[in-house]
Amino acid sequence: MRPRVLRAVTRTVLLEHLRTPEAVFWTYGFPLVMALVLGFAFGEGKAEPSRVAVVDDAPAALIAAIDEHSEDRVTAQTMTAMEARRALTLGLVDLVVSGEPARPVFDLDPMRTGSELARLQVERALLRAGGAVDPGAGSLIRPVDEPGDRYIDFLIAGLIGMNLLGAGMYGIGYNVVMMRSNKLLRRLAVTPMRRGEFLAAFLMSRTLLALPPPLAILAFGIFAFGVPVHGSWLALLGLILLGTLTFAGLGLLVASRARTSESVSGWINLVTMPMWLLGGIFFSNERFPDLVQPLVRAMPMTQFTDGMRGIMLGSFDPGQIATSAVGLAVVGLLSFAAALRLFRWN
């Protein structure tokens, strides 16, 4: 690797990106818009019945009252207190109900209008069932707005992962293939630049470009929603850098041979789709059937979102976070090595 060559190419790739305003919007602006929309409006404006979790040690009368008197405006599920709390965090239910029919206890996220609506519907059902209760006086409302328990706290790590995946796939994968299909790579191939130098310079410039958006998303989460970072900041930043490199390596790999934008799009979908669905971006992937768990676990996106949440929400011990980091690094190194072998200029 000759620094002179790396510098020349890195500079070119950086400038090329920064001079494309629409690309800048999609990498920087879009994730923030997405966080804003999802963070504020989650669960708003729906006509479906409210989803409610009833804690399983509550008296049967409570469940029966909700089931029979909610006029189908509420669907109730019973689960353990822990499960119910988690489902609320993940946005799988709008409200958790416990206590007794006369003195219900509501756990809800006041940021979500769906939660408030669900509470009102359940109170009406209880009123109709019992007739004699005064829910206003008798019920206890416990808002779960402590940072760390809300969906937005869960979501930020996923959004960052999604952003880094996009930066690797499109910022690197797609761009390299475009350079191949318009024969720019052929021109570079007849210079004394080595393959490794080109790939490293591309990786470097793209990593520099890919780092600010996750930091912006994180800062946005912290300042707009008070998303917590319970664990080490150093570990968090390290993991973001590692994730950036890993997804960049995957990007180089999908770009190593494809000649046309169509064929690289196919490869990008092949990598991206499973990660969106199973990588724990928008919802937890712990509940997927055992059959797909090996796939879920093998995914760098799972490693990344797990590690991020482990650090931010403080729910993991350092050993588990280290495992995630090693998993990511392995995928990243293997991808880069494979890309180096497979890469062709033509």
Binding site: R7, A8, V9, T12, R186, R187, V190, P192, R194
Partner: protein, 326 residues
């Protein structure tokens, strides 16, 4: 002092029995180069001349290491692509037939990029001045005209002070003035830096004026090799007479020109007639009389010096470029 002056031993390029067959699945194989032997000496400006699809680009790209030969020997600057690829790349400069560069970089930035890939290299100012793009130094590639892009491509090819320069159709699409100034750049590179140039072209005039030697290629084979003057002299005719009249070919085939002395060769096609002659002033009166006697109504009659174009017509019976200008 350029490196070119004290490069390695041997000719700049040696090709022996070069063949290239393109195989695409589901299609019959295409033989693009069919047994080419060629030695380009150092310090030469060498031209590959031939119609579309003759195999010029394929030959040049094999020499540049972009394509693999199907068969044959390829030596560049006395080295072999198999073992010395990086060495060769450091010592050649290339302008491809159709390259796109980074769209959003300026002329100066692109020169800096390529200069950054070589050691030693020319300065950005020098490169820009070489191809006279000073006014466009801060213009982005996307906003350059086709001719300006061509010139920039040549500048990037010169960035590493190469010993051997490959230019694939460097002047196609240039206006006559830009073409001439690019010829000057190429000559200066050879004369001052002692470099070797291999270029491809469709322009006979260009080959005749610029190249020390040319190889005329058709269907992947060499059909003539030598200096432009030698090739023309080889025809034995210094002049060409061309005539046009309705149905002329049929009349001539019917024997209208029989018995006229001094016609070395003739090609007739439709309304057109093409004669190679040693001395037009001797032959023309007889030709005109013969036409008049046969009632041929001439629409045009021209005479000119024999050109490389005629060499091609002589060898293949076809025009080099169908209906082309200049």
């Amino acid at each position: 002092m350029s490196r070119a002056a004290h490069g390695g031993r041997g000719p700049a390029i040696r090709l022996a029995g070069l063949r290239k067959v393109y195989t695409t699945r589901g299609r019959p194989p295409v033989v693009a180069v069919d047994g080419l032997d060629l030695t380009v000496e150092r310090g030469e400006i060498f031209g590959l001349l031939g119609p579309n699809g003759a195999g010029k680009t394929t030959t040049v790209e094999i020499c540049e290491g972009l394509l693999d030969a199907t068969e044959g020997v390829v030596e560049v600057l006395g080295m072999d692509w198999g073992g010395d690829a990086e060495q060769i790349r450091a010592r050649i400069g290339v302008s491809l037939q159709d390259t796109r560069l980074f769209e959003k970089q300026t002329v100066a930035e692109l020169c800096a990029l390529f200069a950054g890939l070589y050691e030693p290299s020319r300065s950005v100012e020098e490169l820009i001045a070489l191809v006279q793009l000073e006014e466009k130094a801060d213009t982005r590639y996307a906003h350059l005209s086709g001719g300006q892009r061509q010139r920039l491509a040549v500048a990037t090819a010169l960035a590493g002070r190469p010993e051997l320069l490959f230019l694939d159709e460097p002047t196609t699409g240039l206006d006559p003035q830009s073409r001439r100034s690019l010829w000057d750049v190429i000559r200066a590179y050879r004369d001052e830096d002692g470099g070797t140039v291999v270029l491809t072209t469709h322009y006979m005039e260009e080959a005749a004026q610029l190249c020390d030697r040319v190889m005329v290629v058709d269907h992947g084979r060499s059909i003539a090799l030598g200096s432009p003057a030698e090739l023309i002299a080889g025809l034995g005719a210094a002049h060409v007479v061309e005539a046009r009249a309705p149905g002329l070919a049929a009349r001539v085939d019917g024997g209208v020109l029989e018995g006229i002395e001094g016609i070395l060769e003739r090609h007739a096609n439709g309304d057109r007639l093409h004669l190679s002659v040693t001395a037009p002033h001797v032959v023309l009166p007889g030709i005109l009389r013969a036409f008049e006697r046969a009632g041929v109504e001439l629409e045009a009659l021209t005479t000119r010096h024999t050109s490389l174009e005629d060499v091609f017509v002589h060898l293949t019976g076809r025009q080099l470029r169908d209906g082309g200008e200049s």
